[in-house]
């Protein structure tokens, strides 16, 4: 079985989820045999060759061109799709990242493969594929059947290990692809400068989610954080509502944290959030929904409305 993984360079490094795509590619290789090719597009890629020459990768194609420095979907689609066509793999795997979720639908359309996004596991049936997908924010799984021998998939970052055992023996092919001109133009990458505390530096984080109910209730959570010498953090909806600045957001699209204690208050546990905090030493969650996915990765859980529980908890801790 020919397997292609599409890697990515993010913030001047190979992205972590690239290794997860390779991990899944390797699992399929072990199960069904074959060859794994890694394709990466960008600029000045040779410096990443050693990092990419990891166990299980048979060959690497670096699509290197100054015009590919910034991700732009049309140029990336044409360049990568051209290589995929030449290999004609049975499966193309990419991480579901900001780049992957934008690019893979376009590549799949270009090469005529069926795309299944957000996959957790895959089985080849001989005539097609069965993929397991995570839906409803992790509350449900679905098995889907694709009657097509050729598929493209994206995987959720955080579902697979990131193994980085370098071998240095992988064949690396550098190419300068033709650049397709799209109607869109990348202008640049920016990092908004925000002055705030650095939540990654705290041993204790008290993190609030939608279940906090109102902005006024943040005060109680802040008080809890202060009692524990910790900081107040949050999940995405709190930032979306403008209750806390982006600097306090935990998640793969914001800050990844690993405190000694993470107290999640009214956070249901969307994938993005869980990936940003699941490696905390002790996770304590309070949520009124007993089916909230956050409980799956917590060490201690309380099913309660945080606004009922918090005043009592504060009282106890002040004793």
């Amino acid at each position: 079985m020919e397997i292609v993984c599409i890697g990515e360079i993010f913030n001047n490094d190979v992205s972590g989820p690239t290794y997860e795509a390779i991990y899944l590619g390797n699992e399929l290789k072990r199960e069904y045999g074959g060859k794994l090719t890694l394709i990466i597009a960008g600029k000045d890629l040779e410096k990443y060759s050693a990092k990419l020459s990891i166990q299980g990768v048979d060959s690497i194609i670096l699509l290197d061109h100054p015009s590919l420095e910034l991700y732009e979907q049309v140029a990336y689609t044409k360049a990568i799709a051209g290589e995929i066509r030449a290999i004609s793999p049975q499966i193309v795997i990419a991480p579901y990242t900001s780049q992957g979720m934008d690019l893979l639908p376009s590549i799949a359309h270009e090469i005529g493969y069926t795309l299944v996004t957000y996959c957790q596991s895959l089985k080849f049936t001989g005539n097609g594929w069965i993929a397991t997908r995570v839906i409803y924010g992790g509350k449900l799984l679905e098995d889907v059947e694709v009657d097509d021998k050729n598929i493209a998939v994206t995987i959720r970052p955080g579902d697979f290990p990131q193994l980085k055992q370098e071998t240095g023996s992988t064949s690396v092919l550098k190419k300068s692809p033709e650049i397709a001109q799209g109607k869109m133009r990348p202008v640049g990458i920016v990092k908004p400068a925000l002055e705030d505390i650095d939540i990654t530096k705290y041993d204790v984080l008290v993190s609030v989610g939608r279940g906090i109910g109102s902005k006024e209730n943040l005060e109680m959570a802040d008080e809890l954080a202060k009692i524990l010498n910790g900081a107040l953090a949050c999940s995405r909806p709190i930032v979306d509502m403008g209750w806390l600045p982006k600097t306090r957001q935990v998640g793969s699209s914001a800050k990844t944290v690993k405190p000694k204690v993470y107290i999640a208050l009214g956070i249901s546990g969307a994938t993005n959030h869980i990936n940003g905090m699941k490696n905390s030493n002790t996770i304590i969650s309070v949520n009124k929904d007993p089916y909230a996915p956050i409980f799956e990765i917590s060490h201690y859980g309380v099913v309660a409305d945080i606004n009922d529980l918090l005043p009592l908890l504060l009282e106890e801790l002040k004793k």
Binding site: N11, Q73, V74, S98, M101, D102, P105, S106, T117, R133, V134, I135, Y136, G137, K139, L140, L141, E142, D143, V144, E145, V146, K183, M184, R185, P186, V187, I189, V190, K191, P192, L228, P237, V239, D240, S253, A254, K255, T256, V261, N281, T282, V286, D289, P290, Y291, F295, I297, S298, H299, Y300, G301, V302, A304, D308, L309, L312, L313, E316, L317
Partner: protein, 259 residues
Amino acid sequence: MDIVVLVKATPVLEEAKITEDGKNLDTSELKFFMNETDTYALEEAILKKEKYGGKVTVVTLADSEIENDVNDMIYESYAKGADDGVIIEYSGIYLDPYAKAMIISDFLKTIKFDLVLLGAQSTDTSYSLLGQLIARHLDLPYTTLVSSVELNGNMLKVVRELEEGLQAVYEIPLPSLLTIQSGINTPRYPPFVKIRNARSRPIKRVSIEDIIKDPRSLVKVKRTRLYIPPSKGAANILKGEPEELAAKLAEIIRGVVPR
């Protein structure tokens, strides 16, 4: 600027119930509302209309089984400032993102627009695929995860949200398609009286068979099983009365918090 907003009614789900065939969600007791990121897409369309003029058309593809909730979603959109609402209805069939994208693309060919907006991801199936496929079908430039949109003449300057707080800036001409990330704006809540008044306004209804003869033939991804993930059972769930819970929790916190 005429803007089409693609919206989806998604359920609020606590305990999931699966139908007897083991393939579908039992929706009989669920209430459906506009998908969260779609509410931001709609708000962005209305803000742009207020600034530059034009029309906002809300389009949804929905199972007639949830007709009442879908109607409410459109009326609420009217109350917020949408001009027209279209429901493309289907009944008793399973549609994957491929079929949905083809149906919506074919419908969009029949109307005039400068920009298509939709939420970056739905809270139910989380495919994040529909907008991209529609854009490719209609040969529109697209980008995803948009957290800011500015219009300069015929050119949009958009900001995409990346990982780790980074952002990418792009210029993209009209007509085009953008998938919108939550937090781009603050969606308005229309007063109840406005929603009530909106209920007298017409909704355009289209049957998918009017658009595509055999929608089943477009389905490439078929669900064979729907199930609750096996619990890893990690969490020690504390039980008791509220005061008791607070005391237990305080004890645990004292035990793990460094001094």
